[in-house]
């Protein structure tokens, strides 16, 4: 079987559209996930009364169910229950943010708890207040430790966005399916889709590597 470059060439505009949507959903997803994960991670790290049980439940539900099921639930079940309508794009971004948020919660909790207690003692012994110790010592150190696992999570989220084809969002993977149906050229289309994903994940990985190098990871 020969590889028809013209199929790839003709499909490019649509794929770029799909890739753009994938990028938008991913950015909203990891942005939202960072906010959710940071707040929830701090809640569990400092065992905030009552709230940390809620966070525990949230993380358990997300980690305990497949992300496809979460996407289906948010797109089809949630609007019925709450009597609202959600666009596919909104449902996808929300789903990815909720999903990434749960994993980032664990990343943040782990980072905060990994900071040597002795450093906290050293700050307190100087006469600093607890909030001062958190802001000048524990926070900056924990932040550095989240960078490598966060990079990992960002890449996972980007790739997870492919499954939103099940709720009909016209992101990259869904475009791939559509174009295959139109052209009947699975080899060319899926190769091109894979290369698109590779370029995006590789770019993300390089950005994280750069941040890592800019900061002294301790």
């Amino acid at each position: 079987m020969d590889f028809r470059w013209d199929v790839v060439w003709n499909a490019l505009p649509q794929m770029v559209d799909g890739a753009q949507l994938t990028a938008q959903i991913t950015l909203l997803g990891i942005g939202g996930g960072l906010i959710i994960g940071t707040l929830c991670g701090l809640v569990t790290a400092f065992r905030v009364p009552i709230l940390h049980w809620l966070v525990f439940a949230y993380v358990s539900v997300i980690r305990g169910t497949p992300i496809v099921v979460q996407a289906m639930f948010i797109y089809f079940a949630l609007p019925l229950a709450l009597d609202i309508t959600l666009s596919g794009f909104a449902a996808a971004s929300l789903c990815l943010a909720m999903n990434a948020g749960a994993y980032i919660t664990e990343i943040v909790r782990g980072a905060v708890q990994s900071i040597d207690k002795g450093l906290q003692d050293a700050g307190l012994a100087l006469g600093m207040s607890y909030p001062q110790v958190l802001l000048s010592i524990v926070g900056p150190l924990a932040f550095r430790r989240t960078i490598p696992p966060l990079g990992n999570q960002f890449i996972i989220s980007l790739k997870d966005s492919a499954l939103f084809l099940v709720i009909g969002v016209a992101e990259l993977a869904q475009k791939g399916e559509q174009l295959t149906a139109q052209t009947g050229r699975a080899l060319e289309i899926w190769t091109a889709v894979a290369v698109f994903y590779l370029i995006m994940t590789f770019t993300l990985a390089m950005i994280m590597r750069l941040i890592e190098r800019r900061m002294r990871i301790l």
């Binding site: 040597d116 002795g118 450093l119 003692d121 050293a122 700050g123 307190l124 012994a125 100087l126 006469g127 600093m128 207040s129 001062q132 000048s136 010592i137 900056p140 150190l141 550095r144 002294r216 301790l218």
Partner: protein, 244 residues
Amino acid sequence: MSPLITCRKLHKRFGAIEVLRDINLEVHTGEVVVIVGPSGSGKSTLLRCLNVLEPISGGELEVGGKRLGDRRTRKRDIRRETGMVFQQFNLFPHMTARENVMLGPRKVRRQSRREAAALADRLLDRVGLADRSHHYPSELSGGQQQRVAIARALAVNPRVMLFDEPTSALDPELRGEVLQVMQGLAAEGMTMLIVTHEMRFAADVASRLIFMDEGRILHDGDPKVLFESPPSDRFRDFLRHVQT
């Protein structure tokens, strides 16, 4: 003159385990008190209670005229009267030596960056590390790290310095430089409480020796007298163990 540190009937419990029992202690300005005893005897816990890093379970504590439990006294107020040096140094790894020393003055004494930097340079010079001020802790030897830690503790201008086994984590050849700095402080009249296993140092520098065992102060007196004629079998045994 009233004592700088006063403990009355101080107790400390970790769950069901009594770590400190009925500690009565007065330390006056200028004293260099060395605390020795077998591991698990409560020496480190006692130091950590004195600056309230460990909450006490009972009794009274007064440091620099600030009484724990008074409505106006915060834990922080007591900690500001004391400087602490830890066995594991506990330098802030994301800050240079100079920034480590500056943090206390900046956050606690509300000094400007310039004032704090000048103070840090002065203190680093005093511990012999003027040329290392821009190094990160990971770039310093253990002995150098501990000397930075001493400068950091001094920077908030404490009235008493607490040393928790400051040389125990160091290779033998690096201990001297730390002990030398401590000896210098003692000579300048700094009030110090030192938990250590360095008996030579205790004999040379201490103005007072405390022997702790099973959470109690067993002996408290002149180091020369205690070392020359140990008043109990427990202390004699202990000395035999550390000297071999």
